[in-house]
């Protein structure tokens, strides 16, 4: 359905009064709010920034829009204003603002009129839910719709976040408990938030604690409430012995996995980012402080799309980036597969995620070790031994061959030995003179179990987990690698999927400059009214990083600007150009996409005319169908 059609079909829009839009940039808050609202029977959509929110509002019909005030792109207030301008008489939802800075919001002239209610962050989630219920005319139904699909359950690697393994059941439980405690002073999420304060010396930080807040059963209800209300954490504090897979829940909600893991008792070993017992006395506070600061800084550099991604590969890439750009394996004899990565994630999941990134050229591999695996249970915990070729017994005894020159008798030394003398069993002569009477040309190995002999031994593996025996020659091996993000991988984390060509064939409205979105809507409208064609050309720069390192950012950026100027001149008044973050855009009126595609080489030539350097720009044409399909 295209955007123009939305306008026409607006009266036929699904007449649910329970559709809610959550415009929020924090992935954690997104996840929690969606979970809670869904459990109450609402149908919640997520918009990750202002532009996307605007598009959703124009596209669909919502009963209520929960808007974060500070968002990338345009802020909540701007979205509402823009919506009202473009809505064309479309019914507006109830707008509710959430903000950590109510003063700034109230300072805006129109805000008071635009928003039905403003919740200062961190807010009391119960109040928000109550307000929503109230505004939507009745108590929410604590019903989980059939076939409810939550983001966390979409990941095949996910083992669920609770012991029941069912996110839906957990959502129900969360909703029930929230209802029961709702309104009671002292148990509010704000009160809980105070408890999250953890102290190391004079350092006080907001800690997500194991096992209180995130435990074997997943993330606690209080923590969820705190997160939903926009609360944040500085670090994960592991205060009781835990295994790295116990912290799996961190990978399931938002970007909690980007928090440093501070292990107070050392049970996580290298999986933790800070292991307190291994730190020298007196340096604990400083180390934690520095780690939190480094992580926080690194997190800021992670592109919003990667932070919000639900793909485990993207998460592992971001985690690797934040954790000093390397994912190292270390031996772990407690694991069947013999190793763990230095993060709180199952090694197999981590390796699979890294393999996916590796295929895209985003990581570089460093060989770590080759493990032999049990043919029965895939364990690498195997005893390696020299064995008899015949019966596979390791009960071998080595002795030396003796060659008696005179009669050519050659046999193991025992056959010759009579007390301290060597006597030939064939000719009964005594062997006296080494090198003249006899020599020892080699060794012979006898199996004490079956009596067979050989000059060599076989190698075999005995599995210590299942007892299965594997011959050395046929034992399966598996190679373990460490990973580091390649230059492209770093760019991927910092600049988003554009680096791997994610935008070449698919445009994401969230990434388009706002003015362009507005213009596109206009163009689409014109097309449906008057059938005036238009084309959108994106100009991307896959070789940008190389260019910058070769020619410097200034020249590259200037050349980019010049290219846009050239294009503008080429089309005269017919084209409007927009400068985007990773790519530039040209909206050409009255040219069909087919024509534009045919003329693309000319456009490119025109754009590059008179430039000192070749930016190796790539142009892609999008038509109405490509944009709104």
């Amino acid at each position: 359905m295209n955007m123009a059609a939305v306008g026409q079909d607006k009266d036929n829009a699904v007449s649910t009064g329970k559709k809610i839009l959550i415009a929020e940039d924090s992935p954690v808050t997104q996840d929690i709010l969606k979970l809670l609202l869904t459990s109450k029977g609402y149908d919640a959509d997520i918009a990750r920034d202002g532009t996307e929110a605007l598009k959703c509002l124009l596209d669909k019909r919502y009963a209520l829009a929960l808007m974060d005030f500070h968002m990338p792109g345009l802020n909540g207030s701007e979205v509402v204003a823009e919506f009202r301008r473009l809505a064309d008489g479309k019914a507006a939802p109830v707008f509710v603002a959430m903000t950590a800075d109510p003063a700034a919001l109230l300072a805006e002239k129109n805000s008071c009129e635009q928003f039905a209610k403003v919740f200062p962050k961190p807010f009391d989630i119960d109040e928000v839910l109550d307000f929503i219920d109230f505004s939507q005319g009745g108590a929410g139904r604590a019903v989980v719709p059939e076939g409810l699909k939550l983001p966390v359950t979409e990941e095949p690697e996910s083992g669920g976040i609770g012991p029941e393994g069912s996110a839906a059941a957990l959502a129900q439980e969360t909703a029930r408990r929230l209802r029961n405690t709702g309104g009671q002073p002292g148990i509010s999420s704000l009160a809980d938030a105070v408890e999250f304060q953890v102290s190391f010396g004079s350092l006080s930080l907001r800690g997500l604690r194991w096992p209180e807040d995130v435990g074997p059963a997943g993330v606690s209800v209080a923590t969820r409430s705190y997160l939903a209300s926009g609360g944040g954490y500085d670090a994960v504090i592991v205060s009781e012995p835990a295994l790295c897979e116990d912290l799996r829940a961190l990978w399931e909600i938002g970007d909690l996995y980007l928090l440093p893991v501070i292990d107070e008792n050392g049970s996580l070993g290298p999986c933790a980012d800070v292991s307190v017992p291994s730190l020298p006395r007196g340096s604990v506070q400083r180390t934690i402080e520095e780690t939190i600061r480094d992580f926080s800084e690194a997190r800021m550099s992670v592109h919003v799309h990667i932070r919000q991604s639900k793909s485990l590969s993207d998460k592992v890439a971001a985690s690797t980036y934040v954790r000093g750009n390397s994912l190292k394996p270390h031996y772990n004899a407690n694991k069947k597969h013999g190793f763990d990565f230095d993060i709180c994630l199952d090694a197999k999941e981590g390796a699979a995620a890294m393999a996916a990134l590796s295929e895209l050229g985003l990581t570089e591999t460093v060989f770590f070790d080759r493990f032999h695996m049990c043919g029965g249970c895939r364990s690498v915990r195997m005893n390696v031994r020299e064995e008899c070729f015949s019966c596979r017994s390791p009960n071998l005894k080595e002795s030396k061959f003796i060659h008696h020159f005179k009669c050519a008798y050659q046999a193991a030394e025992e056959d010759f030995r009579q007390g301290s003398d060597l006597v030939c069993p064939k000719c009964s002569r005594e062997l006296r003179h080494f090198g003249v009477d006899y020599d020892k040309p080699g060794i012979i190995i006898r199996c004490q179990a079956c009596g067979s002999s050989s000059s060599d031994t076989a190698v075999g593996f005995q599995c210590m987990d299942c007892g299965y025996h594997t011959d050395g020659e046929v034992a399966e091996t598996t190679d373990v690698f460490g990973y580091a993000l390649s230059e492209k991988g770093i760019a991927f984390v910092e600049e988003g999927p554009v680096v791997i060509g994610g935008l070449q064939t698919k445009l994401r409205f969230a990434e388009l400059p706002l003015e362009l979105v507005i213009q596109l809507n206009k163009a689409a409208h014109d097309f449906s009214e008057k059938e005036t064609p238009f084309s959108l050309i994106t100009m991307s720069f896959p070789a940008r990083r190389e260019m910058v390192s070769e020619h410097g950012i200034r020249l590259v950026e200037n050349s980019r600007v010049q290219m846009m100027e050239n294009i503008k001149n080429y089309f005269g008044g017919n084209a409007v150009t927009y400068h985007g973050e990773a790519q530039d855009y040209v909206l050409i009126n009255r040219v069909s996409p087919e024509n534009a595609r045919a003329n693309l080489p000319q456009y490119l030539e025109a754009a590059q005319s008179g430039l000192r350097i070749d930016l190796q720009a790539r142009m892609t044409v999008f038509g109405l169908e490509d944009l709104f399909a």
Binding site: H403, F405, S452
Partner: protein, 420 residues
């Protein structure tokens, strides 16, 4: 042509007495041998071929020993697996190889292609290697094969059949030439092997005179080897072991239908080296180590052993030794006419050789012999003249210089101490 017609004219104009004188050497040293072969050919009994089950009465171990044979071992083992009666056990031995032989054997062992593998770091000679393997073998019948030999499909099956006779201690295989087309010399050797090894041993078998179970391919009863102490130090260990078995009273068998192929030297130099080694070892063993067999006062004296010793002495040694004197005498007596005489002799011999060849071809199964027929003429010269001189050279070398005690086939450390 002129020379030949002259020879014929001369031949037919001779009296019986002068004929005998002229052809003394032929009459004494060639005819009896041919006559024996004819005789045996006439009464030849083909060995009775037994059903396949018979080949499984005894457990069979094949021993393959070699020095620096990394390429030959896998080929040889593969051909053993192709046998109609595959061996029950294969024991391989690398005798101080300096190439990858030991590693190759280890891999074969790991793959289960062979059952036992031994390797030494220092070379000890073939006897020592065979002795180890024979003792570690679990078969009642031990088959020795050179790893550069290849076998006919039924070779193992046939070579073990004669062991049904409990008196048989060893059975020689029928070794034939794999590369007769390599050179004229190789072709001549192919005919030689066919006549002397295949037909010759078949006749010897009839007379119980088989004296050598060749190292290339032959089978032994393990208990017999244990009784006689296996191989002794020094070269010609196959002849040595066989003679010893005979001395202990074991019967030696031969199977014409247990065929093994080997490559023979293509060039004269290689051939001469090989024959020098064989003949020297034969001389040393027969007339030094086993000289007692010719002494009627020795308690170990036996008629059956005197026969083959005298046969070898007369036909091989004296035949070769008289050759130069005979030729010299002919030239002194008849001047250049001697050439005509010698040619006349050769004509007769070619005719005899042709008949013998046909008989050998007829009695040797599986081998494609008839293609060698045109080369019988070459064989006559090869066997009658060339080989005589080679043998003579070898005998003189051994008698005068004891060369077999320095043979590089045996490590010097062994030569240094072994008895004569």
């Amino acid at each position: 042509m002129n020379l030949i017609s002259e020879s014929l004219t001369y031949l037919f104009s001779q009296s019986m007495a002068s004929m005998f004188l002229l052809f003394a050497i032929v009459i004494i040293f060639e005819i009896p041998r041919y006559f024996l072969l004819f005789l045996v050919g006439a009464f030849m009994h083909r060995p009775k071929q037994r059903p396949l089950e018979a080949a499984y009465r005894h457990r069979v171990t094949v021993i393959v020993a070699g020095h620096n044979e990394e390429d030959a071992f896998p080929r040889c083992v593969a051909s053993l697996k192709e046998q109609s009666r595959p061996p029950d056990e294969i024991v391989a031995f690398s005798d101080g190889s300096t190439d990858r032989t030991a590693e190759v054997l280890r891999n074969l062992l790991a793959k289960g292609e062979i059952d036992k593998a031994y390797a030494t770091d220092l070379r000890g000679g073939k006897s020592a290697g065979l002795n180890v393997c024979e003792r570690l073998a679990t078969g009642e019948i031990v088959v020795n094969i050179d790893c550069d030999c290849s076998l006919d499909r039924d070779a193992i099956r046939r070579i073990v059949e004669p062991f049904e006779d409990p008196d048989v201690g060893s059975v020689a295989g029928n070794i034939q030439v794999r590369n007769p087309e390599a050179s004229l010399l190789a072709t001549a050797q192919a005919i030689e092997y066919l006549v002397t090894l295949s037909l010759g041993k078949q006749s010897a078998l009839v007379l119980d005179q088989v004296t050598c179970s060749s190292g290339g391919f032959s089978a032994f009863r393990k208990s017999a080897l244990e009784e006689t102490g296996g191989a002794d130090a020094g070269g010609g260990e196959d002849l040595d072991a066989t003679l010893r078995l005979r001395a202990y009273g074991w019967k030696i068998g031969f199977r014409a239908d247990a065929v093994c192929y080997t490559d023979v030297p293509v060039k004269l130099s290689g051939l001469v080296r090989q024959r020098f080694r064989w003949e020297r070892d034969a001389i040393r063993l027969r007339f030094r180590k086993y000289a007692f067999e010719l002494n009627p006062f020795d308690p170990r004296f036996k008629i059956s052993e005197v026969l083959h010793q005298i046969e070898f002495l007369v036909f091989n040694v004296i035949g070769a030794a008289l050759m130069p004197f005979y030729v010299a005498w002919l030239f002194i007596q008849y001047g250049s006419f001697a050439i005509v005489l010698l040619l006349s002799v050769k004509l007769v011999l070619i005719f005899l050789d042709l008949i013998v060849f046909l008989m050998a071809a007829y009695t040797t199964p599986y081998v494609n012999s008839m293609r060698l027929l045109p080369y019988v003429v070459a064989y006559t010269f090869y066997n009658g003249i060339l080989m005589r001189f080679v043998r003579l050279g070898a005998y003189l070398d051994e008698w005068l210089l004891d060369s077999s005690y320095r043979d590089s086939y045996v490590p010097q450390k062994v030569h240094d101490v072994r008895g004569k």
